[in-house]
């Protein structure tokens, strides 16, 4: 029983780290632009397919991951430049933006299926099923990469946001877009940078989860749903809240199989979400200034 609990905890932490980066990058772009970018899930999957395709061409893992990140950044910039920016110029409501984003997600899912494969894909990497032992904990190499890389990239995003000139400019635009417009900060350019960064970063959990488990074009929506729950329950506008809440939710979801059937584990996440909305609507990490949903 104890061993099972340890395994479930470790599973929860691994999943939480990958969803944490999805949630933090989603929150980052939402904070900057106010756009509920559900197409983020499509980029997550598409980048995984790009990495899979590159590895199929005998490109080593690291360059394949970097290519996937670059493709993710370019894809994100296309979505921002060709859709969101135009909708904003047309003064589209948040609902129209959301529907537009759902449309892009659907297109990306279908394009992934048409260009690559509609079936479950598995990476042809010899180390995919190799395991390392840390006392009672057994981790596959992809899982180890997830628990190392995802928190590191999350921290890098935090440092970028608070310590670099570009990161501060993006925060300034998020904080007061109207003032940014009249102080040479060029909000639309900052939005492009924000989506490029969040899309490049989401390629990492997308690829690593694909290597660890497998991938299908339509699986990412569930991951995004959990991530969005974490963003809201963690406190909208707080990247740390989103990341931490992802880990908490994933652990609860993982451990819940001890008490309820695995098929209800997502239901447990949403039950917690409803409790948060009712009891602590400001989220885990309270922020004084934030975009409201």
């Amino acid at each position: 029983m104890t061993m099972l609990l340890v395994h479930l905890l470790v599973d929860g932490i691994v999943t939480g780290c990958s969803i944490g980066l999805v949630a933090a990058t989603f929150a980052y772009f939402y904070s900057a632009t106010g756009t509920f970018h559900v197409a983020h899930a499509g980029i997550y999957t598409f980048c995984c397919y790009v990495a899979w395709y590159c590895i199929g061409l005998d490109i080593p893992f690291v360059p394949a991951l970097l290519i996937a990140m670059i493709v993710g950044a370019l894809l994100g910039m296309m979505i921002q430049g060709l859709l969101y920016a135009k909708l904003e110029r047309l003064k589209a409501t948040p609902l129209v933006m959301l529907i537009g984003s759902i449309g892009v997600l659907t297109v990306l899912q279908n394009v992934s299926a048409i260009l690559f494969s509609p079936n479950i894909i598995q990476f042809d990497l010899p180390w995919r099923t190799e395991y390392l032992e840390f006392g009672p904990i057994l981790l596959s190499i992809p899982q180890l990469l997830i628990v190392i890389l995802c928190p590191l990239l999350f921290l890098a995003l935090q440092v970028f946001s608070s310590r670099t000139a570009l990161g501060r400019q993006i925060r300034a635009v998020a904080s007061n877009p109207e003032l940014a417009q009249i102080t040479h900060l060029r909000p639309q350019r900052m939005f492009l940078y924000a989506i490029a960064i969040s899309s490049a970063l989401v390629a990492v959990p997308g690829t690593l989860v694909g290597i660890d488990q497998a991938m299908q074009p339509y699986t990412s929506l569930i991951i995004l749903l959990t991530a969005v729950v974490a963003v809201i329950a963690g406190g909208i506008g707080s990247l740390a809240g989103a990341f931490l809440m992802s880990i908490v939710l994933s652990i609860i979801q993982s451990v819940s199989v001890l008490f309820v059937s695995g098929r209800w584990s997502l239901g447990v996440v949403f039950a917690i979400f409803i409790l948060f909305i009712l009891l602590r609507p400001e989220g885990l990490v309270k922020r004084k200034f934030k975009r409201e949903l």
Binding site: R171, A172, S175, T183, H184
Partner: protein
């Protein structure tokens, strides 16, 4: 004249709000601009900055016609707006507020007033450098908003209700600082203000607008001879 408008007609969606508004401002002059809500004060400032289209008439900044220029082009020429109640980045610290705008101005190559100059002009900002802007008092936030507006190469300040939400003593302090800065830097300013008595203390010219038409435009001395309320 550093800033002038001649028979300016501007409005929204091609429908005029302003009807042949004309004014001229000399170096360092402060134009107190009064009128009831919806009379056309903010529309005039938006027309000067290019946020709404000029339908007819001329706007000139330091001898250059600007009425057909984009907002960015006008910003590059030094027109600075202090928007009502939202002139700071509330999530960022005072230093970050100053730094991001300073960096953006440097990238544009326009930089006669840098971050250090702003701290010299407005010492309260230097004292509160690490404070989060949204947590500052109303007066300090307006000082910061003024500092942000001054960064770069200001050639004209457009001040939209800077006293909103401030206690009377802070209004006097802020206005004294605005006057000092305009005179020192020889930058003209249009000051939209509902606190008429305070604004009159620092004004050189006075303008009153009613339903898009200027109903009074004269020097402070001329304005002091009349009952301004008759024009509202």
């Amino acid at each position: 004249m550093p800033l002038s408008a001649t028979n300016l007609i501007a409005g929204y969606g091609g429908k005029p709000v302003l009807e042949k508004v004309s004014f001229t401002l000399d170096d360092g002059d402060i134009l107190a601009f009064f009128g009831h809500n919806g009379a056309g004060k903010s529309t005039t400032l938006k027309a000067v900055l290019g946020l709404i289209d000029t339908i007819d008439g001329e706007i000139t900044l330091n001898g250059e016609r600007i009425e057909k220029m984009s907002v960015d082009q006008r910003l590059e020429r030094g027109i600075k707006l202090l928007p009502e109640g939202r002139g700071v980045f509330p999530d960022l610290s005072v230093k970050e507020n100053i730094d991001v705008v300073d960096a953006a101005n440097r990238a544009k190559g326009s930089q006669s007033i840098s971050a250090s100059d702003v701290y010299d002009l407005l010492p309260v900002l230097a004292e509160r450098r690490s404070s989060i802007a949204g947590e500052l008092s109303g007066g300090q936030q307006q000082m910061l908003a003024l500092g942000i507006a001054l960064l770069g190469t200001p050639k004209c300040l457009l001040l939209e209700e800077p006293s909103v939400g401030l206690q009377p003593d802070l209004v006097e302090e802020l206005f004294a600082k605005i006057s000092e800065v305009c005179k020192d830097l020889r930058v003209p300013a249009i000051l939209i203000e509902h606190k008429i008595v305070s604004a009159m203390k620092i004004a050189d010219q006075v303008m009153i607008i009613n339903s898009g038409r200027l109903v009074f435009n004269g020097s402070k001395a001329e304005a002091e001879k009349i009952d301004l309320w008759d024009y509202f």
